[in-house]
Amino acid sequence: MTLWELIAAAVVIIALGILTVLVFFPSSSTSKKKHKKGKQPAEADLNEAVGENILHIFDDRYREELKNRGRLQFQEVLTQNAMFLQQDLRLTASQLNEYVQGEISKKLQEEFAKYDQAIDDAKNIALSSIQKINKAIEEGRQILDQQIEKELAQSKQRIIQHFEANMAEIVNHYILTAIGGQIDLNSQLEFILADLEANKKAIIEDITNGA
């Protein structure tokens, strides 16, 4: 309930109070005057006198008294309405608080739910991404392993082929390094003569027929 509504209610109440005072009191005085006329002439005279002097009875003081009563009643009504209004306001504020709290809670819960959902989605995406990366890394590692194994096998094969191709020189070099300074020709004489004997015919032919 707004302030303007309160003011309008107050104006209506005041107007009703004034109408009540103006309508109620004249009728009561008239009925009393009729009632008294039938009983006693003195009273009738008095009533007539009173009627004649009504304006004297409802003088300024009386009207002032009525005004005061109306004011008090108006103040009471105002106080009651203010109290009701205050209660309504408190109730409204309380309801509003509850409503706002509920709305905020609801909104927060929704937001938290969305946030949780977003976090879950992000987590799922991150997990999926990590899994993909791990898978890619694993595949890369396997490919790399295969390449390395292939390269190693090829390198090993090349080394073996090179070794086999140059095996005689390698062993020769090894022997030269190992015992090169300890060669005794006398111990080789038998083998040298055997080789010469094996090639004796070719040597003789080349010496005899050669240029």
């Binding site: 020769n172 004489l189 040298i192 010469l196 090639n199 080349d206 010496i207």
Partner: protein
């Protein structure tokens, strides 16, 4: 020492290389010069006898020559000059310097089996390690360990891989 057979001159085993032959030729020439000078000299003039080395001595002894005889001297000179020009020579390379005993044994075998007037040229090839390389006029005979290993590569390979597998 060998002896002359069928009238042909023999080459002593001490004469091994062409340098030895050249030396003997020079000494024979010196003797020839000395004898020519001696025939022309007058009595009482000093005479310087030519020196003869061990190689010539061996040659003379082996062939029982008397170099004071012109025929023997001429024959010896002709023989040596012919060797200078046409002696069969083979080149043998070893990994180390061969000893005199070794060369002597080798030349005996060569003279007995290849040619009686064969001369040697000795070379050094340290990377041979074991064995030798014989080069004649047109051919080369590699009797080195390297060649031997190369010829028996399969055996060497088998032995090496067996050794590696045993270690593994």
């Amino acid at each position: 020492m060998e002896h002359r057979e069928n009238g042909a001159l023999q080459l002593p085993y001490s004469i091994i290389t062409l340098a030895n032959v050249n030396r003997v030729v020079r000494e024979l020439q010196a003797i020839d010069d000395f004898l020519s000078e001696a025939s022309l000299r007058q009595g009482g003039t000093p005479v310087n006898l030519p020196r003869t080395g061990q190689l010539l001595t061996d040659f003379i002894d082996m062939n029982k020559l008397n170099l004071l005889q012109k025929n023997d001297l001429a024959m010896a000179q002709n023989f040596m000059v012919s060797l200078q020009k046409r002696a069969p020579t083979i080149h043998i390379s070893f990994s180390v310097e061969p000893t005199a005993v070794f060369i002597n044994k080798l030349i005996i075998w060569l003279r007995q089996n290849i040619h009686p007037a064969l001369l040697l040229r000795i070379g050094l090839e340290p990377n041979l390690i074991v064995g030798c390389v014989v080069r004649t006029n047109n051919k080369e005979f590699d009797f080195s360990l390297k060649k031997h290993l190369a010829q028996h590569r399969a055996i060497l390979r088998k032995l090496l891989f067996e050794s590696l597998e045993a270690k593994a």
